[in-house]
Amino acid sequence: MDKHFIARGVKRCSNARFLLWIAPWEALLVFGLYAAGLCLVRGLNQTNMDNRFAFGLWIFLDLTVIALGAGAFFTGFLLYILKIADLRSVINSAVVIGLVCYSGAVCVLAVDVGQPLRAWFTFWYPNVHSMLTEVTFCISCYLTVLLIEYLPIVLKNRKLRQVPSFLVFEFELHKLVYVLAGVGTFLSFFHQGSLGGLYGVLRGRPFAFREGLAVWPSTFFLFILSAAAVGPSFILLTTWLVEKISRKRLVRPEVLRLLGRISGLLLGVYVLAKSIDTLVWINRTSPEHGFPAAEYYSWRPFGTWILFLEIVVFGLIPALILLAPKLRVRTGWLVSAAAMACCGVALNRYVQTVQTLALPTLSFDPFLSYSPSWQETGTFLAVVAYGVLVYSYSFRYFRLFPDERELQVEVKHEEEERELVGRY
């Protein structure tokens, strides 16, 4: 029925199978929208956050998806600015992932901020003293850029490109995409940094507070670096997942290895920077504020194991795997390392958000605990479902992997060769 909407030369599953795949995600989305609706209509009393524990699951989700979505800006930067042409194979997928991550983050932020009728206040009456202002402006602008970058992918749909004005506009817009890639890099660079800066400037919370350069705390730079390091890993991981689910070869293995190498290199630099930052914080910043760093880890469940897990297990080890050519060529190692790197950034954002707020800062403060309400969890799941749905529809109807058609032929050749070798 929808064959004429699907790119020529590629195979997609039947409508029935596709509907079967998307049905549970749609159900999850509906449930999540209901939960989010409750939060918007009845207010934030639907959540388990309060004035003390103001950041919870949603901010953790925001920070994580924005870091993982950094693959969009970083791949665009590498392809269009540094001219690493091999990444053309994954750029469309990276744009969709970026769009999903950023639009999901904006939606959750909108629910978190609440007062939907006054959402525009954040743009019209921005708070000069808040790093969140920079985040809001950068995310909104970058989401606009991502939507414009997504437009050529949509307009290239087989049916849509039959409309002459769509075809011509897509062609002309695509020629200027390097400008958008440059702008996207600038915006993403700043808001990743601002998100990190949000924590680094918290003088009242010595666990998060960091020194830095001029007005920028070290977390500003660490967030940028970690996002740039993990973005390619997430693209690698999603591409591999899509290949497994669709049972198709979508990109050449060398492209995945290249993504792994880039990710490994940046992750190595990040682990080094993070280690130095942690040592400075343990030995100088925190004691100067009257807190020996060991004290933060005396509150269960946040032991020093979490620091070890973040820096060594999910940082150093995947970096070493991704940097080792012999391990990188083996898909199992490559994908596991990419998954570990993604877990590392998620853990870092979790520590920054939840551990920071849980720890007491005054002698009479209790250790706070927080677990999200079902409405918060529902909203969280809605973003996940939304992401899967947008990606699934995009994969079905748009050409996310330009080499797919060519690779089908190569796979066929390989199969024939294997068959011949087996025969003789």
Binding site: C141, V168, F171, L176, V409
Partner: protein
């Protein structure tokens, strides 16, 4: 923060922030406006066909974008930088001057039971163009194209008087589930339209008369050999169809032999439509 806010005052930070913010907005808006203005200009200049072909060409698999000099063995591999329009190519005339095409004795190439008369020029989208004595170009489908199409379900020909462009749409056809456009080998104005029964589809007054981009003589054989490989691959992709038998001859209507093949994919591949 913003000049219209209560309590706003200019400072270095506000200059930097507002400067960066508005610069980004201006760049994004300008990019969109430029794309829109250029699109409008191209639409007015009737450049849709040219753009469609460039877009299609860009989406073709790498091995289908190869230069004609790869077919004749002058290059091991080279991607055509001009989307099969050798009139724009600087390398093509130099190579021809260095190594002219060898003469062919036969009046036609007989390949796999298909006939490719050498009194005409061939486009890589399976059309031919023959210059008649009256200066008019006759355009038709080559033997492989004709067999792919068999008896078409429908054909949409251009109106008499309409202009066709090299690598633009000459005509469209429907066959089973395939709805494919056929590329025009020449620039010019349509004088008359034909039909499959007449063996040709268009008679065109060429303007300008230039066939440098079309294959001829000794180029035809290696090209057809290559096309047969592509056809074999296209027919065997979904593994629902057997490969072509060695020494066999394509039927008059190849689609009959492959009732389960995705004919839209096969025709799209062979007629170079993405």
């Amino acid at each position: 923060m913003l000049p219209w806010n209560y309590g706003f005052h200019w400072s270095a930070a506000s200059y930097i922030f507002l400067g960066a913010f508005y610069t980004v907005l201006v760049i994004v808006a300008t990019t969109l406006v430029i794309a829109l203005v250029r699109s409008r200009r191209e639409l007015r200049a009737n450049a849709v066909d040219r753009i469609r072909w460039h877009s299609d060409f860009h989406d073709l698999p790498e091995q289908d974008r190869m230069c004609r000099h790869v077919l004749t063995g002058e290059f091991k591999s080279r991607e055509c930088p001009h989307a099969f329009d050798c009139r724009e190519c600087e390398t093509h005339p130099k190579l021809l001057a260095k190594r002219p095409l060898p003469a062919v004795d036969e009046a036609e190439e007989d390949l796999f039971g298909m006939s490719f008369p050498l009194d005409r020029f061939y486009h890589r989208g399976h059309t031919w163009a023959r210059l008649e004595k009256d200066g008019v170009m006759t355009v038709g489908l080559d033997d492989l194209g004709r067999r792919l199409l068999g008896v078409p379900d429908a054909i949409q020909l251009p109106q008499v008087g309409e202009r066709v462009h090299v690598n633009g749409t000459a005509f469209r056809f429907r066959k089973r589930d395939a709805d494919v456009r056929v590329l025009s080998p020449v620039d010019g104005r349509v004088l008359e339209t034909g039909s499959p029964e007449r063996g040709w589809y268009l008679r065109v007054q060429p303007d300008p008369l230039d066939v440098r981009h079309l294959l001829r003589g000794a180029e035809v054989r290696p090209w057809v050999m290559r096309e047969m490989e592509r056809l074999q691959m296209a027919l065997s992709q979904d593994r629902s169809a057997p490969t072509l038998a060695d020494g066999g001859v394509p039927l008059d209507d190849i689609s009959v032999a492959y009732p389960n093949a995705d004919w839209d994919d096969v025709c799209g591949e062979m007629f170079l439509e993405a």
